[in-house]
């Protein structure tokens, strides 16, 4: 039997049992929302860990997080951390991910980080897919991260003839060759192109533990902010500094890092992901326990409700299934119909509950990615449930002769 016919029959079947279908949908909507809520608590508790798993994959087995009080540079801050990290970079394979912005402290004139309008804006916009992405970054941060130019040298931005040096992505290489001078249309501040960035370099938006996304810098322009506008100072920091190491060498490296950190009078700690997860879970132990118990109980209740209503609605149809058998429907046709119908029974309430949760939760500022992730997990759970129910129903019908089905006997 073709899928089109299965779908047509399933819709007609659901239409004929619409009261039961609405009851089923109502129970499904309530169950999905309930399970979503409890899953959300659980996933929110684990979100940082899930993010790290998602970001690094299996590579995380060789990555060790370099923790410090803060890997922070601020106005007039000691350069000890900077020097310490630079020394570690010489010795070890260090991977850095970073925030894009520097954050002002206290009063701050917004136009510094606000969109910079360049005189050559029209030219750039015409040739690129829009306006260039300006990145204002701390020079020390850039150095530590090691953003490189075409020749493989780490860029060091400063001032040149009262003009602020910028590095441009390879996309602008022809449009804005080294030495090009341009100015901000409103502040009249002048910039000079000093570097063309090496191809395919990436910069992290967010952090690894909070929806981090790597973006290509090929169409970026990197400039230094005007420090004098930061009246009360600023911070620029990196959350994610990692060291790639072999498991067997970690103890030695830990001791070595401690020694180097002591030399600079700073605090650095090397932690594996497992250790990080453990300490994270210890910190949230009560919440974990509560969310786990709640999740298990609610999931079981929801699943039982959904399975029961679905089974009841099908098992009421013994006679009709028998009639269909005697009129040419095959086992495979039934499986397709049962599956199709159960999918419809999931899609309909799934859409309604998605809409309810979207309006309710996103309106309250829930992160979209977390919302989608949680909803996906919940729907996946219900989907598995649907397939299981379909298999049970199919098996139940298959083990009976059509003659028994017609008589309603088992």
């Amino acid at each position: 039997m073709k899928f089109k016919n299965c779908l047509s029959f399933s819709i007609s079947h659901l239409h004929n049992k619409r009261k039961l279908f609405f009851v089923n949908s109502l129970i499904m909507v309530v169950s999905i929302i309930m399970v979503f809520r409890v899953f959300f608590i659980y996933i929110a508790c684990n979100f940082e860990i899930i993010q790290a798993h998602d970001f690094f994959g299996s590579a995380r087995n060789h990555l060790y997080k370099l923790e410090s009080i803060f890997l922070v540079w601020d106005f007039g801050y000691s350069e000890d951390y900077h020097d310490c990290i630079m020394e570690l970079r010489e010795k070890y394979d260090i991977v850095l991910y970073n925030n894009t912005n520097i954050y002002p402290l206290g009063d701050f004139k917004q136009d510094i980080i606000d969109y910079t309008r360049l005189n050559s804006e029209d030219d750039i916009a015409r040739q690129s897919n829009g306006f260039p992405q300006m990145l204002f970054a701390d020079s020390k941060l850039l150095e530590v991260i090691g953003v490189k130019d075409k020749n493989g040298n780490i860029i060091k931005l400063g001032m040149q003839d009262n003009k602020s040096e910028v590095a441009v992505g390879s996309f602008y290489e022809e449009l804005m060759p080294i030495g090009t001078v341009f100015s901000d249309r409103f502040t009249k501040k002048e910039y000079i192109v000093s570097y063309i960035l090496a191809d395919n370099q990436e910069w992290m938006y967010g952090t690894v533990y909070n929806s981090g996304v790597l973006k290509s810098m090929d169409e970026w322009i990197i400039a230094l902010p005007d420090m004098s506008k930061f009246e009360d100072g600023f911070v620029s920091y990196m959350n994610d500094v990692y060291l790639i190491a072999d498991k067997n060498e970690v103890d030695y490296i830990k001791a070595d890092i401690e020694k180097i950190a002591d030399k600079y009078g700073v605090f650095l700690l090397l932690e594996s992901f497992d250790e990080y997860e453990k300490s994270y879970k210890d910190l949230h132990h009560d919440m974990y326990y509560f969310s786990n118990v709640l999740m298990i109980l609610l999931c079981i209740s929801a699943m039982i409700a959904v399975i029961t209503i679905s089974l009841v609605s099908w098992l009421k149809d013994y006679h009709d299934i028998g009639v269909l058998c005697t009129n040419g429907f095959l086992d495979t046709d039934f499986f397709k119909i049962i599956l199709t119908e159960n999918f419809i029974k999931l899609i309909f309430p799934g859409t309604i509950s998605f809409a309810i949760l979207w309006v309710g939760d996103i309106g309250r500022g829930l992160p979209v990615k977390l919302f989608h992730f949680t909803f996906f997990i919940v729907i996946l759970l219900f989907l598995i449930c649907t397939v299981i129910v379909s298999c049970i129903i199919y098996h139940e019908f298959k083990r009976n002769n059509p003659v028994n089905l017609i008589k309603g006997e088992r």
């Binding site: 269909l324 005697t326 009129n327």
Partner: protein, 222 residues
Amino acid sequence: MIEINNLTKIYKGVSYEFTALKEVSLTIKEGEFVAVMGESGSGKSTLLNCIGLIDSFDGGEYIMDDVKVHELSNGRQNVLRKEKISFVFQNFELMRNYTLYENIEIPLLAKNVKKNNRKKLIHEVTKKFGIEELLKKYPYQISGGQQQRVAIARALISDNPYILADEPTGALDSQNSMELIKELKRINEEGKTIIMVTHDPKIAEYADRIVIIEDGKIHSHT
């Protein structure tokens, strides 16, 4: 042609075992109209169900149009049933929550007939039985005689060569019974092979041959 040799059917429960068919042998030729008669519990419906492949059998040979049915898997038997056999039941066995149109449409859906053709065929067959005006109604909204005509229309629409009727007049009054049996006779004359279980001798008279079954064994052919 249907040929069964030493067909045996045993019903097994936890504490009982009952042999409903005891090595039954029977041959039904193409285009034949055979009535199976016997007392209640004699095994006539069981025989019909086994021939119709809606019940399993425990022993013997069953050959339908040169296909050794007894050697086929359940799945293949179901396909054979779909392609060859249609049923008419005593209680009509229409699906209550479906319109008459939807009830008649079932075999065509199973055979993947296109929507337009389905519509055309349904109108042709219902016109033949004078029920084309009832198609939007539900089974509980029409009389028993009309329901049985719908059931026959459903059996005929798939154009299968074998029609198995289990007490088709059992739930009808005498007038409707006579109309129905005449209709079955006409269908048989159009070339369909009909095997009908009945306990009514007047109805059985319309068949080409009567098979009497007693205690799970064929007693006589007339």
